[in-house]
Each structure stands twice: as structure tokens, then as C-alpha cells.
Amino acid sequence: MAEKKVSLGKEFTKGLIKENPVLRLVLGTCPTLAVSTSVVNALGMGVSAMIVLICSNIVISLLRKVIPSKVRIPVYIVVIASFVTIVQMLVKAFVPALDAALGVYLPLIVVNCIILGRAEAFAGKHSVLASAVDGVGMGIGFTLALCCMAAIREVLGAGTFLAGAQDLLVLFGNNVLNGFNGFTLIKEGSALSPMTVFILAPGGFFTFGLLMACANRLAERSGKPKAELKGCEACPMAGSCSIRADGGACEDGKEEASA
């Protein structure tokens, strides 16, 4: 029993830093770049994706002995799409401002490679409890990385921090934060003006590049290999994909090291 607990703890913490899905595994880059324009959006996206990830991990793990391996990808996609639809409806109903801010990226959680990747690499092979814990860890890791990036971009690009926090909590009433709606770091009409480019597309790529460099530096210091684009490794299509042989992006897939 004691051993089991240790490994559960490991499954949880590995998603936070060591195998952070965004900065270490380089998965889910599209939503990371797209919604990290403000911390509130990033939090909303992170939590939505985490809910989908946990639920789909649990269901896929429950069904792992029933699903024939030949059709597992379509089955995974249906499970994930169902949960995304549920989350989409909940967000539309209870946090309409977030729905407007995330727009098309909310339904696009379906094709977020973190979720399909974890289903394929972990939930399809492990027990329900371990899969749920893995989902929580990876979800928090995703949210952390998103918020980290969003904090940089929002402060530099808009001169605010946590702007629109009230909109996120509108479900609990209109004044749940006592009128607090984010900090304004650069007041309007002051001599400073925010670097708008940071909340635009180029700033997204730039911030992500620098964050990745920091993550690599830290990893190197602790003696770990740096993050390379390993999209294909976690990509569920890796088996049927021959681009890796073509010298495209992928290094030879190394086996998922979690047992």
C-alpha cells in the first residue's frame, strides 16, 4: 500500500514540473499561445482543459479493457469530444464572458494534443485512480504554464494583472471580490504605455520562446535533457505516421518512462 501511495504522488508531481506538458513535453502549443493574452483567460482555459482531461482520463481508463485497440483513437476522440461539449455548455451558461474571450479555442480542446496524448500514453494503460491523478497533475501543470506566460504577456502588453477577474466568478454573484477587478499597473494617461505587441501574435511566440529557454536552462542545471519538439512521441498517430522516417521533426520515439 505504501508503495502505491508513493507512485501516486509521483504521478501527480511529474506533471507540474518534471514532465510539464507545455514546457517539457511541448504539447498543446496552440491554446498556450492563443489564450495567454490575459491571466484570467489562461486560468479559464487551464481549468476547462483540466476538467476535460480528468474526466476523459477516468472514463478511458475505465473502458481500457473494453475498447479494441484498433479503434481506440476514434473512441478516445468521442469520449473527449463529449466532455468538451459538456464543458462548453457549462461555460456558456455560467461564465459567458469567458466563452466570448476563448471563442473557437474552447471547442478546440478536443484536438488539444495533451488530452489525446495522455489518453494514449497513460489512461489507456493504467488504473482509474492513477489516471485521474495523472489528469490532475497534467492539468495543473498546463494551467501553471499558461498562467506563467499570460502573466508576462498581460503585464507587459496591457499593463494590467488579473483584469476581468470578476467576470470569471460571475457565477457566485456580482460582487464576490468586493469590487476588485484586477490591478492596473499602467494607468491611462501616464507617461508609460504598455507594449501592445506582447498581447498580439508575435509577442506570444516570443514569450513562449524565452520561457522555453528558461525551462531548458533550469533542466540543464539539474542534469536533464532539454525539451525538444516531441509532439510525435505523444501524438496518437505516431504509429501510422512516417514523417519521422522522412527526417521531419521527430526524434526516435522513446518509450513513455512511467510504469
Binding site: A34, V104, A201, P202, F205, C232, C241, G247, G248
Partner: protein, 197 residues
């Protein structure tokens, strides 16, 4: 007609899927190392985007909207795209081997490419009619191709550069992407100016 060209040009330049909307970043970073793989991948994306729009538009209009089932859009669209890609692969393999040899290996990857699902969902969100949807999808695909081709050129130059150690690998690629994206911001206002809208 001007309106259709505006949609097409917007999708290619000012609203470029990769560089402005962040859709399809995985293949953009992953398959852009060589020009020929970049071209093959983007040709497959143009093909699948156009096909997916042509198929999902009637399904959405005559099946989902008619029966008040719009909430099933996400599930139906992703399943249709996945099935379509499989079907295309089989058909190409059987009847058009040269085309299959050129595009076939990229097809399985496209199922989970967010740009394809993204363009289909955006067409619905924007309320485009069939012709507008097709123009938008083809434009989005061509925009993807443009970004891929430009970026594969940038990356081939990057390989011979002396990059600081901590930026080697992915970070410098992302920073290069940032500069390419910055150059695409120069197109802002171009469509309106060109077509006099």
C-alpha cells in the same frame, strides 16, 4: 465578388491561421524543417480543409440546425473529419497512387490538426454561406501553406547560424516564428485598402 476576395485574402494574410490565430502550430513547428515536407503537409491541409468544409456544411445546415442539434457540432465535426481523412486515404491509395505517395503520409496527422476543426467551426460561427465557407477554407489552407513555406526557408537559414547556447533548439525557432509573425502584421489594413471596403 469583392466580398469573396476579401474573405480569401483575409484568411491568407491578415488573419493567417498559423501566425495570427495560432491554429496548427504543431505541424508549423514540427514539419517545417525541410521545404518538401512543408509543401507536402500544407498541400494535404488545403485538400482536407476544403473537403471537410464541403462535407460539414450540408451536415450542419440540413441535419444539425434543422433538428436543433447545434450543441452536437463539436462531436459531429471531429468525427466527420476523422472519418473523412480515413476515407480519403483509402480512396487515394486505391485510385490515385501518385497523389497518395505525395500526400498520404501526412493525412493521418491531419485528423488531430486543430486548424482543420478550427476552420470548420469558424465558418459556422461567422455564419458564412457555402461559397463563403469554401473561400475561407481554401484561403486558410493557402495561408497555412504560405506560412509553412516561408518558415521552412527561415529555418534552413537558422541551421547555419551561431545561436547562443541557451536558445538552441526550440526557443530560437519560436523567436524566429515571432519575427515572421511580426512581418505578417504589416499586412494589417491591406485587404480593406486593396479592395476599397
Amino acid at each position: 465578388m469583392t466580398a469573396y476576395f476579401a474573405i480569401l485574402l483575409t484568411a491568407i494574410l491578415t488573419g493567417n491561421f498559423v501566425l495570427c490565430k495560432f491554429l496548427g502550430i504543431c505541424p508549423f513547428l514540427g514539419v517545417s524543417k525541410k521545404l518538401n515536407t512543408a509543401l507536402g503537409m500544407s498541400a494535404a491541409v488545403v485538400f482536407v480543409m476544403a473537403l471537410a468544409t464541403a462535407v460539414t456544411y450540408p451536415i450542419n445546415k440540413f441535419l444539425l440546425v434543422k433538428n436543433d442539434l447545434e450543441y452536437l457540432q463539436t462531436i459531429v465535426f471531429i468525427l466527420v473529419i476523422a472519418a473523412l481523412v480515413q476515407l480519403v486515404e483509402i480512396v487515394l491509395k486505391k485510385f490515385m497512387p501518385p497523389l497518395y505517395n505525395a500526400l498520404g503520409i501526412y493525412l493521418p496527422l491531419i485528423t488531430t490538426n486543430c486548424a482543420v476543426l478550427g476552420v470548420v467551426i469558424l465558418n459556422v460561427d461567422e455564419g458564412y454561406n457555402f461559397a463563403q465557407s469554401m473561400f475561407n477554407s481554401v484561403g486558410a489552407g493557402l495561408g497555412f501553406m504560405l506560412a509553412m513555406v516561408i518558415f521552412s526557408g527561415v529555418r534552413s537559414r537558422l541551421e547555419s547560424c551561431d545561436v547562443p547556447k541557451f536558445l538552441q533548439g526550440l526557443p530560437i525557432v519560436l523567436i524566429a516564428a515571432s519575427i515572421v509573425s511580426l512581418s505578417f502584421m504589416g499586412f494589417t489594413g491591406l485587404v480593406e485598402g486593396l479592395l476599397g471596403l
